[in-house]
Symmetry: C3
Subunit: 427 residues, 3 copies
Amino acid sequence: MAPMTTVGEQMHALVERLYPLCRSITGDGVRATLEIVGEYVPLQVHEVPTGTQVLDWTVPQEWNIRDAYIADTAGNRVVDFAASSLHVLGYSVPVAATMPLTELRGHLHTLPDHPTWVPYRTSYYTPEWGFCLAQETLDALPDGEYEVRIDSTLTDGHLTYAEHVVPGQVPDEVIVSCHVCHPSLANDNLAGIAVATFLARALAERTPWYTYRFLFAPGTIGAITWLARNAERMEQVKHGLVLACAGDPGRLTYKQSRRGDAEIDRVMRHVLLASERPHSVTEFTPYGYDERQFCSPGFDLGVGSLSRTPYAGYPEYHTSADNPDFVSPEAMADTLAVCREAFGVLDRNRRYLNLSPYGEPQLGRRGLYDSLGGRSDAKQAQLAMLWVLSLSDGEHSLLDVSERSGLPFDTVAVAAGALRGAGLIKA
Amino acid sequence: MAPMTTVGEQMHALVERLYPLCRSITGDGVRATLEIVGEYVPLQVHEVPTGTQVLDWTVPQEWNIRDAYIADTAGNRVVDFAASSLHVLGYSVPVAATMPLTELRGHLHTLPDHPTWVPYRTSYYTPEWGFCLAQETLDALPDGEYEVRIDSTLTDGHLTYAEHVVPGQVPDEVIVSCHVCHPSLANDNLAGIAVATFLARALAERTPWYTYRFLFAPGTIGAITWLARNAERMEQVKHGLVLACAGDPGRLTYKQSRRGDAEIDRVMRHVLLASERPHSVTEFTPYGYDERQFCSPGFDLGVGSLSRTPYAGYPEYHTSADNPDFVSPEAMADTLAVCREAFGVLDRNRRYLNLSPYGEPQLGRRGLYDSLGGRSDAKQAQLAMLWVLSLSDGEHSLLDVSERSGLPFDTVAVAAGALRGAGLIKA
Amino acid sequence: MAPMTTVGEQMHALVERLYPLCRSITGDGVRATLEIVGEYVPLQVHEVPTGTQVLDWTVPQEWNIRDAYIADTAGNRVVDFAASSLHVLGYSVPVAATMPLTELRGHLHTLPDHPTWVPYRTSYYTPEWGFCLAQETLDALPDGEYEVRIDSTLTDGHLTYAEHVVPGQVPDEVIVSCHVCHPSLANDNLAGIAVATFLARALAERTPWYTYRFLFAPGTIGAITWLARNAERMEQVKHGLVLACAGDPGRLTYKQSRRGDAEIDRVMRHVLLASERPHSVTEFTPYGYDERQFCSPGFDLGVGSLSRTPYAGYPEYHTSADNPDFVSPEAMADTLAVCREAFGVLDRNRRYLNLSPYGEPQLGRRGLYDSLGGRSDAKQAQLAMLWVLSLSDGEHSLLDVSERSGLPFDTVAVAAGALRGAGLIKA
């Protein structure tokens, strides 16, 4: 039952479905989002009550919103939440008032440099209300009285996040995390959600070596909540990747883990370089997305972050211009492809021990020349076996072998398989 | 009571006062020098008797000189010690004789390439006498008999050196050393003496973290004597800087300690680079000034050396052209400023431990956003806090944080102060 | 009794003597080769019986050949082993048959891209017979019947290799290895054999520090046999060098040991760089010559390989064009000179301990200034002493001193000798 559309188109369709929802760090927008994602991959949804202590933080009250607008005296809605979830300041407290424009201005957010774009603003931990609108909309408003109305609630409730697990051959885990707290912003982070979703489906096609755990959680407080509730799991988390800004037209950017030499760092650098894609690799910084939580010094996990144009690096960032037109099927498919390549390497990147380390073992006697001799890539395969034998001292991984030999990782992994089959190396 | 003159001018005035004195590795010239320096900062003067064993060396006899000249048969002094202390070979044994110019020539030192300059020469450990003069003076001497007279004494006495201590908050010490054994040479090392003197005054304005110990001692034998007499102090000496050639027009040169990765090396490199001054940083060499003693392999102290044009690197080196005109108030003020910046960094460069290392602590709740939010450098300050939190794992110093983040050291140190005030990190 | 010819010419004469012999991994060709080499340096010849287990391998049957040809129906030998040992596939099983050219073609090896050259081919471990010939010879053969005859024997016998030892002052060994299994190929490896032979003579001129062991053994199986029989010696083998392709017109290439930082690697890099010869230094690869056995992970010896144009890097490789004209006296003399320089450094490259490490020792008192003062290189000699004193902390070798100071190794070694003579350092 082959799909009629490409995987890129399927991811873009998911972005378009999710786009109108008003997500925040809590509330029904997140739940609706997870319900849609759950149609693609089964999710375990967690609800964590308001007031729960999570590391240094406390789960806040749940925010929900039904309607919000600014109306002129004639009753015309000049700014309307129904048109875009960006129009209301995230976590706005309720308001119902009439006030002159001069007073209202203190609650309005615009982007003077981009007069047709609506900014995205929030005030999670300071009680506040406000509207976001285009500068040109504001400029067109005549002085006078306006009715402002935000029909929101801030009540004890829950923080919602979800997990999806692709079981592997070993309990050691790779976590893939994407934030689900932003309202109508396509690249940040519906594209990341879509890539994570389809990556999970791809990994499940064949039982991977590692167990892959996908996290769909609000930024910062969501990651902190997950970390707080999974302290006992940390030993098992061997690698991880945060997906964000996964669909814009920019080239791929891999941001290294705090450690800088974690295996995921080496794998991502290798795959990006070997693929000959234009790309950037950047040092860790303690800001950006949830890598800042996973890489906080107490955890210091081997978690990097893959984006196209990185965090806050494009003019459309946190504006209404980050809409589904800003992300493309091709870009998301490219991000997905790199993730699959990288996890393909990570999953096979083991250290072997040469069981015949004194001199070269006689490969011919074991049919390891014959079995390859007739193929056009025979010479590479044979060199790969010599390299694996030479470096299988328990210290070098297959990725080390690939990089020192200049041979493709796949060639090296196949050679290791042949040598293991002949009993010449063991994991 | 603000001084009417700049600090550079004050240092230059000190150079001019010290210039005429006939210093050597022992004797009254050193004592007179220390007496003048003692007018600026209180000195503890040490007198070490001739014959004292100091490491592999022995304190030599004390040399003093009252008069020296070459006179023609008419009694005219054609070379006169009274005109410049450079005219007599340092440590000359006494002589009173009449001899033809042909015989005298074997005792005369000139600089044929710089016919108007008088060279500086010594013979500390081989008994010898001699005169230094301009080549053009020598060329003008008619053949004939000359009276030569050196009224010097070499007798059991003392080697003299001095210390000045700026007490700090901890007993760990930083030593600042300058040689005081050269006669009328301005850059080598009256400028170094002047910078050290005014640096000591500046450090005392506010109790520093470290205890700063200033050494005013003759080169080689003086440093060796101090090391021999302070063996028990070595544990406390954490950092050090040798000041020499501190006033010439060249750009600053920092010569690293033998270790190359001592904290003083990192601090000096950082400050010179961050200040955007033209400068050089050079590897350690086992010749130059007293860093060669402090960095000998048995001690291997973290002691670097700051000069402008380095040791022997300028034509005026060890000649009468190294006079007070060769050093400028501006150059000495610049050297002083870099020392103050460097010790400002060194003094605050501590390793902290993040007390809330699991995930990011909630800064907003502690007012660490509010307190900074209104300032124009708010974003940098906030980034600096995130960087300090991220790297405060007991391994990284604030200088590491500054270099990894690209943020100015001051910004990082202020952020660390705020976090420490909030109880989020500890030293 | 000075030789009338240069050492390069003597080496070339040896190459020409050895060239006609039909060597293989076993057999009388190897024995004849060792007999000739034994005229230059005494050899201990080892004979290891067929069937002996050596590491993962088994010593094969011994191959000998008396005659081989392809003759046309008129009895004319169109391909004749007597003309060149390359004409027969190495280890060919015996054959005596008449067959049409169409059938014979399956046993013929040519080089279509070099129609006048005869290739070199072997089939050591798969029973096979064949002839190697020029493509133009093949092209000229009319269709029809041909008599093929290979008068060879494959019987239980021995594998033959030889050792020559230059005794040193210590039992620690340097091994110099060259393969002796190739038939009429001059650069690969008669030039290596010649350089090794004359290197052994040169080293014996003066008792070296290390004991130098020269191995003349067939490639792969010979090195493996030696390793298998010398397991107890491995502790003593401190350094080694494989010599191959030592006479072609290309520039020198040093291939590093698997470790990459073995002392032989540092010495060879230093000598090649300091000599200002054009040269290459390459990383270890697990193919090439017998370094692959010495550097297999179980042994991991500090053994590098010196060639001119490296393994398989020239068109004449493994063809009749690799004849005595392809190697020159000058190239072999140059390779020999670099070996002598390198072993000259290796032999003196020790770590010393400064016995007067606190401050500088007073060199003048010990006559270490006087003794050098009058020479034009006095300043360098004095700097070298200061450098040796500074770095003689048990961690730095004289090569480290040379590289950090920028002073020639010889200057440093002479300075170390003077300091040792004065009791200031010890090994």
